[in-house]
Amino acid sequence: MLELRRLLACLVMAWPLLAPGAPSTSDAALELRVQRVAEQLRCLVCQNQTIADSHAQLALDLKKEARTQLAQGRSEQDVVEFMVQRYGDFVLYRPPFKPVTWLLWVGPFALLAAGLLALLYQLRQRGLAEGELATEEFE
């Protein structure tokens, strides 16, 4: 009787492994790819989130679409391209580097450089003025 019980317990514990719904390694790989694509795409309803982070209906639908296409053998690049063709560059969470976005990418660095230059100029002017003052005092 004890033996039977043990056997039953083993069977119960092993059941999830036998069940057909258990995720296989290929499913896990697919999920990983879906996740990678989802992290590149902006959720257009909640614009500061990627569709990986968002639970909006649109984000769920787009993730589903990405999963279907990846499962059909399309590459991650293809899926991102598919979304850009329909939703525009805006769907990319990381804006592409092209003429219309040069200002966006380079702007902050240009501003920083301009600020540094202005600061340097000011400091030099002040240095010169102080130098003059110092020589005046010596005279």
Binding site: L44, D61, Y87, G88, D89
Partner: protein, 175 residues
Amino acid sequence: MKRYMLPLGGFLILLIFLGIGLRLKPQEIPSPLIGKHVPAFSLPQVEDAGRSFNSRDMEGKVWVLNVWASWCAPCRAEHPALLEFSRLAAAPVVGLNYNDVRGDSQKWLKEFGNHYQVSAFDGDGKTGIEFGVYGVPETFVIDKQGQIRLKLTGPLTSELIREKLLPIIRELNRA
């Protein structure tokens, strides 16, 4: 006096940029589909699942595609304006019932009035994705050659119909 000019100038520039920022509408994303051919689709009708609507049937006509859903509150808000527009009969209005449950959308049409020539039922939202739909309601104007010429995101108003929709439809119908 001169030493105040620089900060004041900087402040004014900042004000100008803030002013521009206030006028931007980040919700309105330019559609890459403008000027492209309308994605072909064939879907069952909302009113009668046995009949279907094929986008190719509209070839040679200037037509309006209005994306709507029964769960979408702004769709209800634009409903009177759209009704008014359909009465003008400037162009046939086809509905794309996006991400919906058929029973709900049929009830919605019965309750608020059906001003669509026909509504295509896109229950899983797949056709919506083809159109880059991200916020219902959305309205597309399609020319005789099947090119998308205008997309409006958000509820239609009498003003939008008068100033945007009607002029382009008139122009396209002449072409």
